[in-house]
Symmetry: C2
Amino acid sequence: MQNFVFHNPTKILFGKGTISNIGPETTAFSNKVLLVYGSGSIKKNGLYQQVTESLQNAGAEIVEHPGVQSNPLLSHVRAGIALTKTHHCQVVCAVGGGSVIDEAKAICAGAMVDHDVWKFFTGKKSITSTLPLTTVLTLAASGSEMNSGMVITNEETNQKFGFANKHLFPKASILDPEATFSVPANYTAYGAVDAIAHVLEFYFTTADPSTPVQDRFMEGLVINAMESCDRVLADLHDYQGRADLMWTATLALNGLTGAGLGKVGFPMHMIEHSLSALYDVPHGAGLSAIIPGWMRHQSEITPKRFAQFAERVFDCRNGSVEEQAQMGINSLQKWFEKVHSPTSLQALHIPTQDIPRIAENALALAKVWRMPDYDNGRIQAILAGC
Amino acid sequence: MQNFVFHNPTKILFGKGTISNIGPETTAFSNKVLLVYGSGSIKKNGLYQQVTESLQNAGAEIVEHPGVQSNPLLSHVRAGIALTKTHHCQVVCAVGGGSVIDEAKAICAGAMVDHDVWKFFTGKKSITSTLPLTTVLTLAASGSEMNSGMVITNEETNQKFGFANKHLFPKASILDPEATFSVPANYTAYGAVDAIAHVLEFYFTTADPSTPVQDRFMEGLVINAMESCDRVLADLHDYQGRADLMWTATLALNGLTGAGLGKVGFPMHMIEHSLSALYDVPHGAGLSAIIPGWMRHQSEITPKRFAQFAERVFDCRNGSVEEQAQMGINSLQKWFEKVHSPTSLQALHIPTQDIPRIAENALALAKVWRMPDYDNGRIQAILAGC
């Protein structure tokens, strides 16, 4: 196990009926609230009313910043920062999935400085303080509700960039599984894929896989993501399934899985960010198209690790290490297919002649994320196997 | 899954060479430091010097409160509180295992009030604030370094009482596996038993075991506790084994395993606290003497849960549910025997005629912990099977 610091101060309020806590949890910081949300689906399912009532009952003055889209855009972040400054908001409340929460984090950081917020993403400036953030989660996927990461797309440069900073942890996050009942089957599956990808990135990229404590935790999360997603796809209102999937996705990227693994990378996300920046595919769909190909590529380098995964997650106990590894990858791919998440570029209608362009875009992120072992040729080789 | 709030703000600094951080982590709160430690073994192994040097380099004025014993005593807590008040200490630094950290927590709470600290333990007063606490852990066992619980023995009344309060989380804890190299084999095993007991208490007492996410996490921790303990007993200086055991023990009781399980109990600890209050046996040794008997008793009530445990932890896949359950319990007992942790009252030289007295003492704690399903007769029946 490698040395690590683990410090996750986010308060989680989990379960049925917890949304009424968002008011007091938010106004504990200030009653000048910027409310960030997406396309308005929360107005259809009643969540908007629950949240604003709770905020108002707690004495909040609400300034609204709606219209966050999936793969949230830098221009919209900038507009939110301007709104925050104009109205002197002192706390931000995000109601949505990872995109909404990520944009809210960027606003929390950008509101504290005079320079452009994108400088944080390109590494030209560092975050030293943020406005406090509270969240109400509506999609089990990104883990943003309990971590310090955020991802924003710069539509001028076609760059989808992300990073983590300790000031970006939400102060409190409300996780009510019922708030995810209206997520359709395809996005439920994409969310589960995203959670699985977060686990696999760490699991397969650690340079020192002598981490049995973390391994078993991660293997359990992958099994739980699949089992709970299966339950939900059989019945979108299955509370237990929604709850298990929600908590799994949160734990999949709250810092605990990676603590002790040393340097890890996000190669699958690195390549997928390029896909969703260029083609606006759903993040989880882009991931499932990349994952099997990346795994086949990587399993030739570290087959033992893949064999352990195959044995513990899919009970593949027979064959050589290499055969076990392949059986594990095939089993995961079959599960992606079962939940109708695409498993190839072709399934996303992305032509193979675009591969050089995708690789070039991904390479820019590989540089920002300091992944020197991924050059253009390697990324193209991986994409050719997807 | 049941509703829950999870909020664990303790900062963990884990790994080789991290002890030099204790100075700045502590004086970040104040330079008036009460240093709490045990019998002086930290002076023999060099830890005392490392810690005091780091504190002094960070500008600390140190007041020492040594002499904490295992099963820490109320009288010694009171002396620590008096010392803190006399010297106006504003932060407490604990260097030791669970006993030292628990006593330090009691001092942190008691230093803020004029009434006697024991009133917190009997429920007559509630903790509303504490002095900040930092810790350097020297024993993988109790989990106190990352939780809000504490246990103190009142030697006047022979009561070993404990409880949790959100103000009791340490601010920062240093977990350097090398600081546990000098723990002898027997206490290493007792520590692993304690960690396993913490997991099993929740795992087997939840009234609503529809918690697959938590289940797999807990099952993994039990396997890891055994495997890492085995490694360490083969070589007390095995860094990886010490690291895995240390992190396992911390995760076994940091709030995450129980989050979502609803109401759980500590029946094995409830009975063991009576043993160690009356006979001063090591806590882990008392636990392994109780656990198999309690498990046999409980498995008649919830055999399915025990069968799942047997299958996933010990790979027992054959037989009826009841047979599987028994195989799992036997396997765990065999592991306790393998690491030379006692598995009966007899092995602790406690005569069976003492059972009524032990049960009577345990019952007092059952009342404080609000476990009405444990009456004197039931506790005696369990003890008769130990």
